[in-house]
């Protein structure tokens, strides 16, 4: 579960207000700006998981913003917002790397569904990365464990064979044998 950082760019103040109100309902960290140029300033400052942009804006339009975002950080997902008349441009945006498009007027349930999908996708990618890295550490830890156990096994076998040969040594008295065997057993460092 990840809270997304979301940047919204729209030149219509009424629509910005609606975004502000509806996106407050979510757990996402939301920044709203007036146009493409301001959006570019924001993405220069920090990373966003998702950018929602109107296609038609004065100055830098949605396609121009998409280009800047993908140049800077391809992992930022872009959803373009389009009127009925500019579906062709929306398709062009998808070809250039936008993840999806939504038609005006925005159906917020649909938007939340898209954001949930992105959140789930990011979470799966993160899980896969963690799984791969954890596997690598677990494997090297297991190898070390086996190596350590092998070493202590060898030491134990060496002790056992020294004790066996001492026990069979007829030149020693029983009490001498016991003293030497105790020495071998208590010598844990070797």
């Amino acid at each position: 579960m990840i809270n997304l950082s979301v940047l919204v760019a729209d030149d219509n103040p009424i629509i910005r207000k609606i975004y502000q109100k509806r996106l407050q309902e979510t757990n996402h960290d939301v920044t709203i700006v007036n146009d493409g140029l301001q959006a570019i300033h924001e993405i220069e400052k920090r990373h966003f998981d998702v950018v929602l942009t109107d296609l038609v804006m004065p100055g830098v339009d949605g396609l121009g913003l998409l280009q800047s975002i993908k140049d800077k950080d391809p992992s930022t997902e872009v959803i373009v917002i389009t009127g009925k008349s500019s579906i062709d441009t929306a398709v062009k945006a998808i070809k250039k790397g936008a993840i999806d498009y939504l038609e005006k007027p925005i159906n917020f349930d649909e938007l939340f569904l898209r954001l949930n999908k992105i959140e789930e996708m990011k979470s799966i990618i993160k899980n896969a990365e963690d799984l791969r890295d954890a596997m690598e550490f677990t494997e090297s830890s297991a190898a070390q464990t086996i190596q350590q156990l092998e070493e202590s096994l060898i030491k134990a076998q060496q002790k056992q064979s020294s004790i066996n040969s001492l026990a069979k040594d007829n030149s020693l008295s029983d009490s001498e044998k016991i003293v030497q065997i105790i020495n071998i057993i208590s010598n844990t460092g070797s």
Partner: protein, 289 residues
């Protein structure tokens, strides 16, 4: 992705060890690079040098938090490797119940003490909630214990999710069967949340286990699975000796199935249940290193 230079890598390996205890060697360059690159993006730094300079001078510790969140490997799942939970249910809880009932007969107040369980690196909380579910499913005597279940982790973002008890479908599907899911979780807005009853059993706190943790007191059971694998052998020795200090008399320690305390610490007695090795506090060895 911005490439990390060798001298920058060296600085970050030392820095990461210092703040988290995690030991990377230079063979993990790709991993450090990939994970730190996210922090570069987050703060729009142009180089690892710049990131390093800023993090060591950042009094707010916000950059440090981001680095820890990025670098820690939060690989966990519900009932990850089922054997420790079976050990808990089949062996440890009945043993403790038996010991406590005999203590009650002797009229000591030990029986009233809460059962204290610690998950040392709980990540996003799955191990803690798996323990809580096991306790709920356990036999009558164990169900009557009052329980204090503590999960600690070094990553703020992992702890935040652990506290919320919210998981997405992918996280839920790994390790939970339908009966357990419907009994202990509630679906809300495309996610699942652990029921309040289980959440109330658990407490989550931030802790770097390479630093002091004596203030948490003594525990009856400590889970320290797949944590020490990220540490150097020297740090592992220190960690397990300090864990021995935090374990109550006859307390239990459960480590990962690929780990062993042979050559690491002699303050535990290895025991076996089915195919799992677990450890009990060795009262004879008192000295901490």
């Amino acid at each position: 992705m911005i490439k990390i230079k060798d001298h920058e890598l060296k600085k970050f390996i030392a820095y990461i060890h210092d703040v988290s205890g995690i030991s990377f060697d230079s063979s993990k360059k790709y991993l450090i690079e990939m994970r730190l690159n996210k922090v570069l993006e987050e703060f729009s730094y142009k180089s690892y040098e710049e990131l390093y300079h800023n993090v060591v001078n950042d009094r707010s510790k916000n950059i440090e938090k981001s680095i820890i969140n990025a670098i820690t490997i939060n690989e966990t799942l519900f009932f990850r490797d089922t054997s420790p939970f079976r050990l808990l249910e089949e062996k440890i809880l009945p043993e403790i119940a038996k010991e406590r009932s005999s203590n009650t007969l002797l009229n000591t107040n030990r029986a009233q003490k809460p059962l204290r369980i610690w998950s040392t690196a709980c990540s996003t909380g799955q191990e803690v909630y798996s323990i809580a579910i096991t306790l709920k499913k356990a036999h009558q005597a164990a169900r009557n214990f009052s329980v204090k279940l503590i999960g600690t982790d070094i990553s703020d973002s992992a702890l935040c999710q652990a506290k919320s008890g919210k998981y997405n479908n992918f996280e839920i599907e790994r390790g939970l069967d339908h009966t357990t899911l419907s009994k202990y979780f509630t679906a809300s807005g495309g996610q699942w949340q652990v029921n309040p009853e289980l959440r109330a059993m658990a407490e989550f706190k931030k802790c770097n286990i390479m630093k002091s943790f004596v203030y948490f007191g003594k525990f009856d059971i400590i889970f320290c699975r797949n944590v020490a694998i990220y540490f150097t052998p020297e740090d592992r020795k220190k960690l397990f000796n300090r864990l021995a200090d935090s374990l109550s008399e006859n307390g239990y320690l459960i480590i990962g199935s690929t780990e062993s305390l042979t050559g690491i610490s002699d303050r535990f007695i290895p025991k076996r249940h089915n195919n799992l090795i677990y450890y009990q506090h060795n009262k004879q060895k008192k000295t901490s290193v």
